[in-house]
């Protein structure tokens, strides 16, 4: 039987030299005339081990990593999957980081050939869509509602409710829009799906289309993700040829087709109404709500706008049933969350687990502490608009409500770890600065407040009227939080205020200066 050897095509793996490793593998296969084939899979999400080379054997897939091109010859000399090689990690599925996960949405990512529909089907792909095609639209929507799935982009709004609104609208055209403008620092789960299991998104969008009566879908991908965009285009083409998209979805009477569109370097386009403006070919300025996009969305038509992970979770829900998905999780946070462990972390990567895990488990049990080896001082959860938390909050369970109760947010599930060299006053300044760069300019609190905020923090850092200026920042934050039109201006206060609340010593610059003198 032909042996399969895997080297990921995921951008993170490429960033560590996976293409050169793949080329070396192809050379060895040819030179040794082996009955073996090289597969460019997605990433398993054990990113500190990339490039992770895997060899399929009778007793599971054996991993080697991180592999350099110069290691490849010795891996082949070792008889492929021999146990003596220094980089041999044993069976990849047994690595605790991976073994202790609950992969539902990411069940295929890193395992299958991302561009093989046959491989996709062999790993439970299309089961959800096939079942959906036998159901009434209302029943599909009910299944998604019953699963408890909430928007994985950050807002956590129940996905089924959005779908129900669109289903209830009468219109000559409806749209499914996938928000793949994954701009939050510390997040890469959307990218991993697009590169590693793109058919899961296509299937999820097709199910959404069938459910609400939309015949056209767009996936809006940020231009910082050139590899994901190229892979998505390849996958859409293959899905069309394979009858998954088009005028007869999987042989049914349903019509659904989709296109990938490229953003152009604007963080704000991750906000759903701004994204719609951008898709329409306009400046990415946010819209007033109401009307909700579900009622008047893309080109004024009823539109489902969902985050990529939400849509990619739908095939599992339809295939296995709402109850199975809902069985995972805690409180009102049902199902699993793909958590991304990033920043100054020894073992960064993707961890899909049911809600309820703590930051401490994530950072220490999975992550192994900081990359630098220094103590962890702060984490930022939920992207650039998320709170900075100290170690005293590391036992809060990952849950939308539990995080909100402590002044934080789960967001898109990104966790950025900082060691004890971090200066939280500088991080607070960056939050304002980032908001100033990325503000769409439509509302004053965000447009002006961000710049004034950065200036005021500069004064604090310089030790100028620190007490008064901290009061001023607090006041400004309240105005931005209450007066901004969207989450960019409205949530920029979260990293700023949390930094001031939990790390006041970093803002006490006069005392620092006095101490130095």
């Amino acid at each position: 039987m032909t042996m399969r050897i895997f080297v990921p095509c995921d951008a993170a793996a490429l960033s560590m030299g996976a293409n050169a490793v793949a080329a070396a593998v192809a050379n060895e296969i040819a030179a040794r005339k082996l009955d073996a084939v090289l597969v460019r899979n997605g990433s398993r999400g054990l990113l500190w081990l990339e490039p992770l080379l895997e060899v399929e054997t009778g007793h599971g897939r054996i991993g080697y990593g991180p592999v350099k091109p110069s290691d490849v010859k010795s891996i082949f000399d070792d008889g492929l999957a021999g146990k003596t090689h220094a980089l041999n990690l044993g069976p990849v599925d047994e690595i605790p980081y991976l073994k202790n996960q609950q992969r539902l949405t990411f069940k295929r990512c890193g395992i299958t050939d991302p561009l093989s529909l046959a491989d996709y089907e062999a790993h439970d792909g299309l089961k959800g869509l096939r079942r959906a095609l036998q159901m009434t639209p209302a029943d599909i929507v009910k299944e998604v509602t019953d699963s408890g799935l909430r928007g994985r982009g950050g807002a956590g709004f129940p996905t089924g409710i959005k779908w129900k609104t669109v289903l209830g609208c009468e219109a000559d055209q409806k749209y499914i829009v996938c928000n793949a403008d994954e701009g939050d620092s510390g997040t890469f789960s959307d990218r991993m799906i697009m590169e590693g299991d793109p058919f899961a998104l296509i299937e999820g969008m097709a199910i959404a289309g069938v459910a609400v009566g939309a015949t056209k879908g767009y996936v809006y991908i940020r231009s910082e993700y050139p590899h994901a965009f190229a892979q998505m285009n390849r996958a859409i083409e293959i899905a069309r040829k394979g009858g998954l998209l088009g005028t007869n979805v999987l042989g049914s009477n349903h019509v659904f087709d989709m296109e990938a569109r490229l953003g152009a370097g604007a963080y704000i386009c991750g906000e759903e109404t701004s994204l719609l403006e951008s898709l329409e070919g306009k400046r990415g300025q946010i819209r007033f709500k109401p009307p909700l996009p579900a009622i008047e969305g893309l080109f004024g038509k009823p539109t489902v706008v969902n985050n990529l992970v939400s849509l990619a979770s739908v095939p599992f829900i339809l295939a296995e049933g709402a109850a199975v998905y809902k069985d995972f999780g805690m409180g009102r946070s049902r199902g699993t969350m793909p958590i991304q462990l990033a920043g100054n972390i020894k073992q960064g990567g993707l961890i899909e687990r049911a809600f309820g895990l703590t930051l401490r488990e994530l950072i220490y049990d999975y992550g192994g502490g900081t990359y630098s080896g220094r103590p962890v001082r702060a984490v930022q959860v939920g992207g650039p608009l998320g709170a900075y938390w100290p170690e005293s909050l590391f036992d809060v369970p990952l849950d939308y409500e539990a995080f909100a109760a402590k002044g934080g947010m789960v967001g898109h599930g990104g966790i950025v770890v900082f060691d004890d060299t971090v200066d939280l006053a500088k991080q607070a300044r960056f939050a304002f600065h980032f908001c100033a760069i990325e503000s769409c300019g439509k509302c004053t609190p965000c447009r002006i407040g961000s710049t004034r905020g950065a200036e005021t923090i500069d004064k604090i850092i310089d030790g100028e009227n620190v007490v008064q200026n901290i009061d001023l920042v607090r006041d400004l934050c309240e105005t931005m939080r209450d007066g901004s039109l969207c989450a960019l201006g409205g949530l920029t206060p979260m990293p700023v205020m949390s930094a001031m609340e939990h790390f006041p010593e970093d803002f006490d610059r006069v005392r620092e200066r006095a101490a130095a003198e």
Binding site: A12, S15, K282
Partner: protein
């Protein structure tokens, strides 16, 4: 779209070719961004003639097109250097020393972010997140992603002796 982002591969302005690109995309839903991306890919930047031409083909005002071009970071109005280095300066990369890296690159290349070296070889740009946050610091050089980036590695990749 290749997204090579390299002026070295860009063709000189050609109004005929530009019109052909615009007309080919014209009947898409929301054609403006795809056309502008295609222009940047083909010509390396978006000049004033391109704005007039697109406005004409899509029946928009020049102000509309200018407004869109100026809103997005990607639609550069000037050609970039032979190599484009995009350094991630977002939080995950900050936690791994990207600010110090950014400062060292500015010093080594003698330019600030947003500038191109006088010999037109290198353009240095900042970017906020490349989605490689577990392998920070991350940089994108001529469309290729690099993790655990260092000053020496980056300069070697663009052919600058440090």
């Amino acid at each position: 779209m290749l997204l090579k982002d390299r002026a070295a591969f860009a063709s000189p302005w050609d109004a005929e070719a530009a019109r052909e690109i615009a007309v080919r995309h014209k009947d898409m839903e929301g054609p403006l961004l795809p056309i502008l991306h295609a222009f940047v890919e083909r010509f390396g930047h978006i000049n004033n003639e391109a704005i007039v031409l697109v406005a004409d083909v899509l029946n928009l005002t020049r102000a509309d097109v200018q407004g869109v071009v100026s809103f997005y970071h990607d639609f550069r109005r000037e050609p970039a250097g032979r190599h484009v280095i995009k350094v991630c300066r977002a939080e995950a990369c900050q936690s791994m020393g990207s600010e110090a890296l950014a400062a060292r690159l500015e010093r080594a290349l003698g330019i600030a972010f947003g500038e191109t070296t006088p010999d037109r070889q290198i353009t240095l740009e900042e970017v906020f997140c490349l989605g490689n946050c577990a392998l920070s610091p991350a940089v994108l050089i001529d469309g290729e992603l690099h993790g655990r980036a260092s000053e020496s590695k980056i300069l070697e990749l663009v052919g600058v002796r440090s």
